[in-house]
């Protein structure tokens, strides 16, 4: 009797929530990766004029600067010296980025499978990547939205997914 109760309990756990109307599990993704050659990918990071926030991600604050991630696209930069009137001052485009951290004046961010260190250079008035740790997050974009695995390749960086036409 006890066994029966236990068995009923277990089966109710197993089947609980699995009664969806999906008739079968697809065996391959309905998505395909959007890829970019590495040499092109490594030249996509730049500082751009401010733009509107569309898909907000994580936030980070350093001194008077407030960063809001645009998921997988980069970071909106706000001057928050007066929190009553935060001012949108630029967009730091970093493809496939979700996180950053700053120490002194160096910004560290994930850039697809890589970690990059960025500094702003007043002399030539550009931002520069001072270091790229290649493939340190190997599976950064390896999973499609429906959970299929696309292994990272050396020179083809996955920057997103699109539905197979």
């Amino acid at each position: 009797m006890l066994l029966l109760i236990v068995a009923t309990f277990i089966s109710s756990c197993i089947f609980n929530g699995n009664d969806d109307d999906i008739p079968f599990e697809p065996f391959q993704s309905v998505y395909e990766p959007i890829k970019m050659p590495r040499n092109e990918f490594e030249n996509t990071t730049q500082l751009l004029p401010p733009r509107a926030i569309i898909n907000s991600g994580k936030i980070y604050i350093k001194g008077h600067l407030l960063f809001i991630n645009e998921v997988n696209e980069g970071f909106h930069v706000f001057n928050n010296s007066n929190p009553a009137t935060p001012e949108n001052i630029g967009f730091l485009k970093i493809l496939v980025s979700t996180d950053l951290a700053i120490k002194n004046d160096v910004i560290y961010s994930n850039n697809g499978p890589d970690l990059i260190a960025i500094v702003t250079n007043i002399e030539n008035m550009t931002i520069g990547i001072t270091k790229r740790v290649v493939n340190t997050f190997p599976d950064a974009m390896s999973f499609s939205p429906d959970g299929f695995y696309f292994p990272t390749q050396e020179n083809d960086i996955i920057i997103g997914y699109q539905l197979i036409q």
């Binding site: 907000s56 980070y60 600067l65 935060p86 970690l115 007043i122």
Partner: protein
Amino acid sequence: MKNYLFISFLFLLISCSSDSDNASLDSSETGQGGSLARFTILNNYLYTVDQSNLNVYSLINPENPTQVNTVNIGFDIETLFNYKEYLYIGSRNGMYIYGIQNPEVPNYISDVQHFTACDPVIANDTHAFVTLHSNTFCGNNINVLEIYDITNIVQPVLISTRNLAQPKGLALFNNYLIVCDDEVKIFDITDPENSILVNSINRNAFDVIVRGNLLILIGESGLYQYQLDQNNIENIEHVSTIFI
């Protein structure tokens, strides 16, 4: 030319930020993220987590970060939080605590396992606070705030479980715990075994940063800033909203 101007502006802001006016609150040269962060800097090291690994980078030469270690933690790692010489790692299966007394070699201290759910974690000297939320992506129907006594760091003890709607990011403000739930809830945790809901902010947010008295909330529809009052938690003043 306009681009150049604001690039220099950005540079100036970054260079100035370390000597900001509230130095006591922003004592380090490092910035601050929310509880959902996967990056954290302690002294001369950057720690990151991806799905399964904790990576360590030396920042001794700040412009030239160098990977010095990678530690396999488990599966579905989601968040990384540093408090003093410990790293608190949230995964869909549990919370892991690593010691970084030797900053290049994080060593396993303890973990707690729970039902599959998404979970950021934060901590103070005596307690760790974990929110578990689940949706179609995360699996189970579990939405709780868990509080662990970590006085004995090698053996965290669950002392409180509280049902919530769908808790996500969280932050501490003195003896108050701020949790992004269906609204932003503020709990008095003076007695962590019996947290008391003392106030709430009617905003939908997924992460939060508390910096001094400033509360910053980020949601899908906006970034909201509030002024907190450490002497009166009832007194919360809206400062600004960036609509998204």
